[in-house]
Symmetry: C2
Subunit: 236 residues, 2 copies
DNA sequence: CTGTATAAACTAACATGTTAGTCAACATGA
DNA sequence: TCATGTTGACTAACATGTTAGTTTATACAG
């Protein structure tokens, strides 16, 4: 069991975020955890965070409470808080929940989409094609995120995006470890195109099937990862 | 706009709950809000709650932060906290999210169920039949809850139940206003039986269809409610 | 009587002091 | 060497003090 502390120099200053102090601290910590600048097992010390960010323990405590609720940290009462280890069980569950929400969303969007929404989707996918052509992986990753966010936005349910993000935080963190595989972005693009095609034709079943296939590509890659980096996975 | 305070005498003592003080306060407040003992629009005063429950502002603040996150209270920064009004938008969204999770769950359970799980489901539904026969509405309500909780438990995903509960809290609160309609529990029972039959036959599509039909019965009844009790719905 | 400025009261948010539970280091005995 | 008991440092949880933003009541001008 490693007992290393987190390295607070990896925290972005809270001036970079908006909202209450607690909210900013939360965002700063979440970013550090998801980007793996805080490694699993590292001890989260309130004192260091307070010092680095220049705030008192109150907002830090509230931030940690939220992270605990999301499963990104493990709090041992009266003792310590650590960055949560990866857990294949959590990741599998997160994938399942995420898929449940994505499938319901895509079916609704395929049914109810407007022409304007269709145009936006089409535009996004054409942008993706450009980015793949240019080999701009970072840009493609962002456009990919936007693609899924856009679909959820089109359902008209504002909390959906938030809930989907929350349930799959562990998956998001695991994705950070996936190196860009040659040819994968091309496949991803084709999968996105298939989804958009089904939405264009207003065919909910086809859209669901295309989305199911798309999302199904992720888990095997994460499972391969667990073999290579067992140090990041829970040893309980 | 009513400016009534909450009536803290409706709060159960925290001795009735388990966990940290913050957790107990959270549960006590949630119970009062969901059971409509705290009415929409009522001002939540920390001072009164602290006095009634015999705790300081810290655990109360943490509890309110969680309730705010779940949408059960509206916090106006630096000003006041109120019990959230009902919102048809929130309820529709909650129903959508709940259905997404229930449909994914029932499909998985129909595929993967064990004989032991099948026996438990069958037992629960036969219990429901007895309770309907006896006209025990409270008992039937509880068995109904257990039925859905059981299905989610059988997926093997431990957080699922928690997430499903969280996304549909507004729906749960609205259900409290639905008077037991004559004959409805009989219908509900038949719908549950149809679901269990499909699970027995390990037919995911049929199970989903039965579940979809079952869940589809709720929204129309809530919509009728919004007409009768406009005072509880948001007037923004 | 009405619109507006102002101040006082109230509250969430934040800071800081205190308590009590946990855990690891160390000592003691087998 | 190893099991076990004790102690002390450390931390989350809780209590309380302080700050700053919002709302509302009130005074005053038009």
């Amino acid at each position: 069991m490693t007992n290393t502390d987190i390295d607070v120099t990896n925290l972005r200053e809270i001036g970079a975020f908006e909202g209450s102090l607690a909210q900013r601290v939360y965002l700063a910590l979440q970013e550090a955890i998801l980007s793996l600048q805080f490694l699993p097992g590292a001890v989260v010390r309130k004192g260091l965070i307070c010092e680095k960010l220049g705030v008192s323990r109150s907002p830090v405590s509230e931030a940690i409470a939220r992270l605990s609720n999301e499963g990104l940290v493990d709090v041992v009462p009266q003792s310590a808080t650590r960055v949560a280890y990866f857990s294949m069980d959590d990741i599998r569950e997160g994938t399942f929940l995420r898929q449940a929400l994505e499938l319901a969303s895509i079916a609704k969007v395929a049914r109810d989409r407007t022409d304007e929404q269709m145009a936006q989707l089409s535009r996004n996918v054409r942008l993706q094609a450009l980015l793949v052509e240019d080999g701009d992986f970072a840009g493609f990753y962002q456009a990919d995120e936007e693609f899924h966010a856009m679909l959820m936005h089109f359902t008209g349910y504002p909390r959906l995006k938030t809930v989907a993000r929350m349930v799959s935080l562990q998956v998001t963190r695991a994705r950070m470890l996936l190196l860009p595989t040659p040819g994968r972005s091309n496949e991803t693009l084709e999968e996105h195109q298939a989804i958009v095609d089904a939405v264009r034709e207003q065919n909910p079943e086809a859209a669901q099937e295309a989305m199911r296939h798309h999302l199904g590509q992720l888990m095997p890659r994460i499972e391969a990862l667990a073999e290579k980096r067992p140090d990041l996975f829970q040893s309980r």
